[in-house]
């Protein structure tokens, strides 16, 4: 029984790695006040770039680097268009979602269904021998370690460094940050790209580890949207976002098992189950933060809402609004 639990948890930690990377990256971007809506396309493009690079050079490290770069590049376009050209972040992000996806299919076509390099598990010396936690956390492949490191680093950076404070200040109140001597636009662009690099790593983690190889469909389609929803569900906090990603992976694994238990339910239902679940999670999140109206006004949030409020959080106050200096 204990062996089963270890196996289950380690498969969740491994399978959730790309979603953790993507949602932590997007959390960083949104904390600075910018929405990078292009995640679904970015992930596919970087998955393709990562796989093709690793396939042609034979180097996994180069594959991950190229994937990250692709994600950073798409994010840079979102950043420049929205921060400096004042275009709607949603508009640019949405166009890029479609364009990056089509670019991935266009350039990836010759590399479909090829066998390429894959990241294999590397136990961390010493730590891998710890009973239970060892195999779950330290007997994984490199992208999983990257996902764990990203969570810890993002949390530490956001809440325990002066630069993290500046990042959050820009997301909450760019004018005040500007008055304090920061350049909100430079900071926003910087963290949009930084978040994009993590999203790019998420794509490479798909094509080089979790769902190895390239194809149409690759299998990562739709996860960008899930990651975007997890950022909201996680209340714009990297650790909570990661927990949301693990919860999601747990539900996915459960779904696979339920499929064996109830073979009469068509497989399509299980395949799309994440999406109604996403809507439901957002409904819950909103219920937790909705201000009471009408007769209930002034009585504070209901106990259920307060309980949910522990799990979720409020968005950065200036999320999605460009900073105008005049």
């Amino acid at each position: 029984m204990e062996l089963d639990l270890t196996l289950l948890l380690s498969s969740i930690v491994a399978g959730a790695a790309p979603i953790v990377l993507a949602s932590v990256g997007e959390t960083v971007t949104e904390k600075a006040g910018v929405i990078n809506l292009s995640l679904d396309g970015s992930i596919l493009l970087s998955a393709m770039v990562g796989f093709v690079t690793a396939y042609r050079t034979g180097s996994l490290a180069l594959g991950f680097a190229a994937g990250a770069l692709a994600g950073g590049l798409v994010a840079a376009v979102v950043g420049v268009f929205s921060i400096y050209l004042r275009q709607s972040q949603v508009a640019v992000g949405f166009v890029l979602t479609l364009t990056a996806r089509d670019l991935a299919y266009f350039f990836g076509n010759p590399y479909s269904r090829l066998y390429g390099p894959q990241a294999s598990p590397v136990a961390v010396p010493g730590l891998g021998d710890i009973p239970f936690l060892g195999p779950v956390l330290f007997g994984q492949s490199v992208p999983v370690y990257m996902s764990l490191a990203a969570v810890v680093l993002a949390w530490w950076y956001l809440y325990h460094t002066p630069r993290g404070l500046a990042l959050r200040a820009v997301g909450e109140n760019p004018r005040a940050a500007y008055a304090r001597g920061f350049d909100p636009r430079r900071i926003q662009l910087l963290y949009t790209v930084a978040g994009g690099l993590l999203v790019g790593l998420a794509g490479a983690a798909f094509s080089l580890a979790v769902k190895p190889g390239w194809g149409r469909p690759q299998g990562a389609e739709g996860t960008g949207w899930i990651a975007l929803a997890i950022v909201i569900f996680g209340g714009w906090h990297p650790v909570r976002a990661a927990l949301g990603a693990y919860l999601f992976a747990l539900l996915q694994v459960t779904g696979i098992h339920l499929q064996d238990v109830w073979p009469s339910i068509p497989s399509q239902v299980f395949q799309v189950a994440p999406f109604p679940l996403m809507i439901f999670a957002l409904l819950l999140t909103n219920a937790a933060w909705k201000k009471p109206e009408g007769p209930a006004a002034g009585t504070g949030r209901s106990p259920a809402a307060r309980f949910l409020g522990v799990l979720t959080g409020a968005p950065p106050a200036s999320l999605g609004r460009p900073f105008l200096r005049d």
Binding site: F94, Y105, I279, L282
Partner: protein, 350 residues
Amino acid sequence: MDTERIRETAARTALTVTAVLGLLGVILLAAGAPPLEAVKHLFLGSLGSWMKIAHVLTAWIPLTLCACGLLYTFRIDLWNIGVEGQVMAGAICATAVLRMGAESPLPGLWLSAAFPAGVLGGGLWAWLAGVLKTRGGVNEIFAGLGLNFVAQAILLWLIFGPWKRPGIASMSGTKPFEPELWLPTLSGLRISPAGLVLSLAALVLTGWVLRKTRLGLALKAIGRNRRAAFLHGLDPSRYTLAAMGLAGGLAGLAGTFQVTAVYHRLIPAISSNYGYLALLVVMLSGFRAGPVPAIALFFACLNVGSIQLPMMLHIDSSLSGVAQGVLVLAFLFFHGRYRRKHVRQPGGGT
């Protein structure tokens, strides 16, 4: 003053087109394909014969219908990303009606009943996303997108389950309807006059409603300033649902057209990505009805022209999607530069 504006618009358009052609040239060269050859095949593949032109118009009809619907939702500042699912919902409802009329002595009756059914199906699917927003506070982007996946699942389940082709269920879709249940097409060409008339009517009607009616004014007022409109006595929730319903209804009509005039059955790819594409069309039109037909026609040409690219040049047909996306990005880029130069006050000119 006016000539200066025209000159500026012309200059911006020239810049946009040059940028798009340049970028596409680079992309094609990177893929190892000769750019001029590719343009030639795109042109011949879309406008090279009457058959191909008919094919382009067949793609233009659903694209225009979806774009018309999106004009309503954009007017009230909603991102209705759920068009794709609304097309599917409309197609499913239309198919349900046509299946009931399979062996009826009055096929014309069932065929005409399929249209309101499709409109209703699409409208209800959009309304659902609207309710999730107005009642549940779920952003319409996530609600619409989630419902797209749900609609796709229902579609696949129907094709592989209850509505499967006798014998074997397959990705090729349900059993085709009897020809009596097909929307009539011109002899020799697979183009439906009724479909063309419907989309033109939708265009004219949408332009009229948005510009000349109280509904259009209310949508615009709420879209521009939600709070002010609310204080003025307009209920944003009600108009949100109305706009969603209209958009979904038109998308459902597009789905019905796909079923009755194009495929004559339900297939997994019944929406053909037109929902997402229509969003790009409307963005490129500057959210106005006037330029929609021309842009939709150009996008339809790219889609149809790219079909033969894999055979002729061994490159993927997703080139059309890349071209469409790059075009919108270039438009936003130069438009953004224009606005930056001319509009100085915060939030102005949007």
